[in-house]
Symmetry: C2
Subunit: 207 residues, 2 copies
DNA sequence: GGGAAATGTGAGGAAACACTCGCATAATTT
DNA sequence: AAATTATGCGAGTGTTTCCTCACATTTCCC
């Protein structure tokens, strides 16, 4: 393994439809290989082969393997945030209870976007800065939740500080939703856990 | 990277004090290298060098790199469970509230055992069976918590099923404790999150 | 002390790895 | 249709890695 260049910036921009398809195929292949072989087994050769593209083409658009994974992380994180954003927008009329229901539902949906990929991306990426930065979707999520709580501050229990509560809510929501989707495949069980999550968070917020 | 043998069983048992020290040094070195270089960077050469031992000695006791990591995981998991076991033993007199306090305290303590190592082990190990098996300390923990809840079943809210509640409690406890220890270094902040955790779980269990 | 067993050594083989580079092909522009 | 630019290719380079093996050293036991 010779030294890998440190930049994670794209090497060149695709200008024709053909090359857009190549980049797309590479990203998709990266996702599949990550899921099938774990991070340590995600090699340039495997990814290129899976994408039906030569190694050389891979390096036309990504300066190194890490940047390819970083691009995939960015894209996945984008999708996650959009799920939560869409769910929370315009749901203020439903009050804290209703909003919490959609919040929890969105939490489950996020995990369902691509659970296997989600696992690898969240669990196995090395602590390289670029990847870490892309990974703290959690922190941006916490921000969204804090804003949500502030919008319903009047219904919160007296002592609850939105900033602190947002951390607790986001962390438990993500963890329980993750476990529900990954360890309990049946829809009935997932529904039960979703109901428990509602109990957990509502009682906490309103004491 | 030639084919790595698949067995993770120890190659031979150390019989003299000297070799016990070697095995110990290797495990300790593995932990340090994992923390310093992430899973992908944990190479046999680095580990042996750090342990002050030759590569050959490493392979006297471990058939491959993976088995070395697996042994470390086992050992770490053992430590975690002992923390929780000790905390819960004989604390039945304190009732649900008191027991929950020690439960939460133990959850934080588990994360503090060796936070950096804990992170790498929990987050970066590949999904190889042996490692997966060793990793589901969470499930055994859930069992401990379920037993705890059953012991105080009379104080639980009417609808609460211990088995389901144990999953929720274990998952949120682990996640929030993890975040507290890793993202909030100051003792004051950790204490605040610990109190929030108490609110979260007590309100949930007793509705 | 001497033989046997346990332990330690590290150079080196074989394979896998990230990445380059010179060149072929396809699309676009003029 | 010629020139230019964009895209695609994959054998090859230099490195890294896992792991073995023939041998050296230490400990144990009588």
């Amino acid at each position: 393994m010779p030294p890998s260049s440190t930049s994670t910036e794209p090497r060149k921009q695709p200008r024709q439809a053909r090359s857009h398809a190549t980049v797309e195929a590479l990203l998709e292949a990266t996702a599949q290989v990550l899921v099938a072989h774990d991070y340590k087994g995600a090699t340039t050769a495997r990814i290129a082969e899976r994408a039906g593209v030569s190694i050389g083409s891979l390096y036309q658009y990504f300066p190194n393997l890490e940047s390819l994974v970083a691009a995939l992380v960015d894209r996945h994180a984008q999708g996650l945030l959009e799920v939560m954003d869409r769910a929370l927008e315009g749901d203020d009329a439903a009050g804290l209870e209703g909003g919490l229901r959609t919040l929890i539902h969105a939490g489950l949906d996020m995990q369902r976007l691509d659970p296997a990929l989600h696992r690898v991306l969240m669990e196995q990426l090395p602590n390289v800065d670029r990847l870490r930065r892309a990974r703290d979707t959690s922190h941006r999520l916490t921000g969204l939740i804090e804003a949500f709580l502030c919008r319903h501050a009047d219904q919160l229990a007296p002592g609850r500080q939105p900033a602190l509560a947002a951390v607790v809510v986001e962390t438990s929501l993500e963890a329980v939703a993750h476990r529900a989707v990954n360890d309990y495949p049946s829809a009935a069980e997932q529904q039960r856990l979703q109901d428990e999550l509602y109990d957990l968070l509502l009682n906490y917020l309103t004491s």
